[in-house]
Symmetry: C2
Subunit: 148 residues, 2 copies
DNA sequence: TCTTGACTTCAAGTTAACTTTAAGGTGTAT
DNA sequence: ATACACCTTAAAGTTAACTTGAAGTCAAGA
C-alpha cells in the first residue's frame, strides 16, 4: 500500500503539517517522492512513524530522534549505539512511571483531604489533624509535602 | 521560618525567576510582602508550592493551576469543585501511567530486536522473523507497530 | 481539457513556560 | 555610613514543536 502525506497523517491521527515538519527536520529520510515531487509513504514507513511516536512519548526531543533515525539509515554498523539508546530510554520511562506513581499518591492524599473537608464542612478538619490522626498510608505523603 | 524568594527557590530546587513568574501569573496569591516590598514565604507556602509542583507533574497548565489556587483562596465554599478537580487529575495520571507502560513494552520489544540483531550481525534477522518466530510477549507489540 | 482537491515550499506566526536584561531598591554586616 | 548580596519590576528574548498563510503544482474524474 502507498499513501500520500494526508492519508498517512489520517492513519496516524496527526496533522499533515506535522509530517511535513518532521520531514523538513530530517526525521523521515526514508520517505520517497513521486516523479512530480509528492511524498509517497509505504507501510514500512508507518512502522517507522510509530517508532518515532514511541520515542516522542519517552520525552525524547525531535533532534535526538533524528539522530536515531539517521543512525538506522547507516545500516548494521550502528546496531550497538541504537541498542544503547533504546535501553537508556527504557530506564528513563521507568523513572517517569515511578515519578507519576508518587504524584498519584499525592493526589490520593489530596482526595482524602477534600473528602474529609467535605464531610466536615471545612478544610480546617483535615488540615489540623496530627500525623497519627490521618490514615497511615498518607503519613509519608504529608511529611514530604511539609518539607522532607 | 520565613524565606526570601531565593531561599525558597533553593529549597524547591527551582530558579528564583520561576517563582517570580508564578507570582506574576497569579499562582501565588498567598505570598505576602515585607514593608519594603520583598516577598516573604512561610512554611505553609512551601506546602502550597509542592502542591503546585504536583499538579504540574500531572500535566496541568499554569492557567488551570491558578484557577485551583484561586478557588482555594475563596475558602470552604469551593471544597467540592476542588475535590472534583483532584479526582479528574488522578484519573489523568492513571491514564498517563498506562500509556507509559505501553511505551515501555514497545521499548522492550525494540531492545530484544537490537539484541537479536547484534547477536546475528544484522537487523535483517529480527526484521524478517514471522510473528510465530518472535517471543510471544512481543507479538502484540509487533502487530500494533504494523498498524493494528 | 478543465475543475477540484490535495499536494508542494518557504516564511512567518503561535504557544507555554520560562529566562534574561536593565535599572533601580532593600537590608544586613562591618 | 558604606558596601554588598540579594531583592524589585517591566519588558524583551528563548525554545521546542508545531501551525498557518501565500503562492504555486500535481493528479484524478467529468
Amino acid at each position: 500500500m502507498l499513501y500520500t502525506v494526508g492519508e498517512m497523517a489520517k492513519r496516524l491521527g496527526i496533522a499533515p503539517s506535522t509530517l511535513r515538519y518532521y520531514d523538513k527536520e530530517g526525521l523521515l529520510p526514508f520517505v520517497e517522492r513521486s516523479g512530480g515531487g509528492i511524498r509517497v509513504f509505504k507501510d514500512a514507513d508507518y512502522e517507522w512513524l510509530k517508532i518515532i511516536e514511541c520515542l516522542k512519548k519517552t520525552g525524547m526531543s525531535l533532534k535526538d530522534i533524528k539522530e536515531f533515525v539517521v543512525m538506522a539509515m547507516q545500516g548494521d554498523e550502528t546496531i550497538e549505539p541504537r541498542l544503547s539508546l533504546i535501553v537508556k530510554q527504557k530506564e528513563a520511562v521507568k523513572a517517569q512511571i515511578a515519578e507519576l506513581e508518587e504524584t498519584l499518591r499525592t493526589l490520593e492524599f489530596k482526595e482524602w483531604y477534600y473528602e474529609t473537608a467535605k464531610e466536615n464542612g471545612s478544610t480546617d478538619v483535615p488540615r489540623n489533624m496530627t500525623l497519627d490522626e490521618l490514615p497511615e498510608q498518607f503519613r509519608d505523603v504529608k511529611v514530604r509535602l511539609r518539607g522532607e
